[in-house]
Amino acid sequence: MKIAISVQKATFDTEAEQCRLTTGRLDIGAVVSFTGRVRDTNERPGVTALTLEHFPGMTEKSLHEIALEAGERWTLQAVTIIHRVGRLQPGDAIVLVMTASPHRRAAFDACDFIMDYLKTRAPFWKKEHTDNGSYWVSERQSDHEAANRWELS
């Protein structure tokens, strides 16, 4: 399984990433990609910007582990995870998860799984800025419930 992980300030080009993932591969039957975007309304309305902090070193390691775990659960040929950090504006793309597999179900499920685990395990923190001040975004119970769906029974 080919794993590509990047934590970066710059934006990403989904099409270019898909090319990178599939070039020369005639055995890939399905590519699923998820893009997360910054919204102007989250915990409070009027979000003007978002600052993403992470824990350099641990972040890359934990994303790699999540990709590996997905690879153990599904037949995957490639996984790309790109997460942006720094200051972002509403409408900016913030995260890209792309999975490739011979058949669609594995790619769909693995992409979903990676996002759920990323949201509860990878060391990123969001601070939202509004005209009335800035605040750290709190964790969501629904994210933990989503991640728990994948616990092996």
């Binding site: 997360g36 992470h54 949201k119 060391p123 923190w125 969001k126 601070k127 964790e139």
Partner: protein, 260 residues
């Protein structure tokens, strides 16, 4: 074990490296300058008479790394491919931590370059701040890690862990060493501190719970670390209160993650 800079007659000589293989060489060194809290505050605010202290010390460190061979008699002149310096202001310890990193593809190691960079950056910090604080102490200049070459990988942390393991007592407290503790995101803002160091002997137990107690002993504000919400990593891996730690470990405390 022999000293490579001495020949068979015990005379100093420069090692001939012409026949050595080129490999990727890297080294990381650290040191710190302890100063009065008021000096550190002036430094943080950029209010010192000589101007931007850290920018100057950074350039000094990079220049020094490039000229190591002019200072250390038997050192080779190296074409370094990368020299970087990081400064961390530690309000809790009232000091500036300096870290230098050097890299090249070549036939000799870059430890001396990294150590020289740290030393000269520390000296420059002293020079830039001495008008307000003559009692500053340059402290703990040391190699942290090196890789490449015949002797391969070495890291202070790995050595510390091995020595702990050989004592055979899991979780036993050895008499020396320090821990680096980081606070991230909301916790950093709440505690108004990004990182600090703990002396190993301050820990009541050699695990994460012991780190928390030692911090609370230092300042009651750290009681917030006892909250179930607070997460912890030891050497970049998620950890629990019971996780055993060793001298040289890097511990990080942070709030629940909110990426994606």
């Amino acid at each position: 074990m022999t000293l490579t800079h001495l020949n068979a007659r015990g005379e100093a000589h420069m090692v001939d490296v012409a026949d050595k293989q080129e490999t990727r060489r890297e080294a990381r060194a650290r040191g710190s300058v302890r100063m009065q809290a008021s000096t550190l505050a002036l430094l943080a605010d950029g209010d010192l008479p000589k101007g931007d202290v850290l920018a100057t010390a950074r350039i000094a460190g990079i220049q020094a790394a490039k000229r190591t061979h002019e200072l250390i008699p038997l050192c080779h002149a190296l074409a370094l491919s990368k020299v970087s310096l990081e400064f961390t202001l530690d309000i809790e310890e009232s000091c500036v931590h300096v870290e230098a990193f050097c890299r090249l593809n070549g036939r000799t190691g870059v430890e001396m370059e990294a150590l020289t960079a740290v030393s000269v950056a520390c000296l420059t910090l002293y020079d830039m701040c001495k008008a307000v604080d003559r009692g500053m102490i340059i402290d703990g200049v040391r190699l942290e890690q090196k890789s490449g070459g015949r002797s391969g990988e070495w890291s202070r942390q790995a050595v510390a862990q091995t020595s702990l393991a050989t004592t055979g007592e899991k979780g036993a407290i050895s008499p020396t060493g320090t821990l680096k503790v980081q606070f991230l995101a909301e916790l950093r803002e709440r505690f108004e501190i990004a990182e600090c160091t703990l002396a190993w002997e301050q820990l009541p137990t050699a695990d994460i719970a012991g780190v928390k107690l030692a911090l609370i002993e230092r300042d009651a504000k750290f009681k917030a670390l006892l909250s179930q919400r607070v997460l912890c990593a030891r050497n970049e891996a998620m950890s629990q209160d019971g996780t055993v730690i060793a001298p040289g470990d890097e511990i990080a405390f942070f709030p629940p993650v909110t990426g994606g």
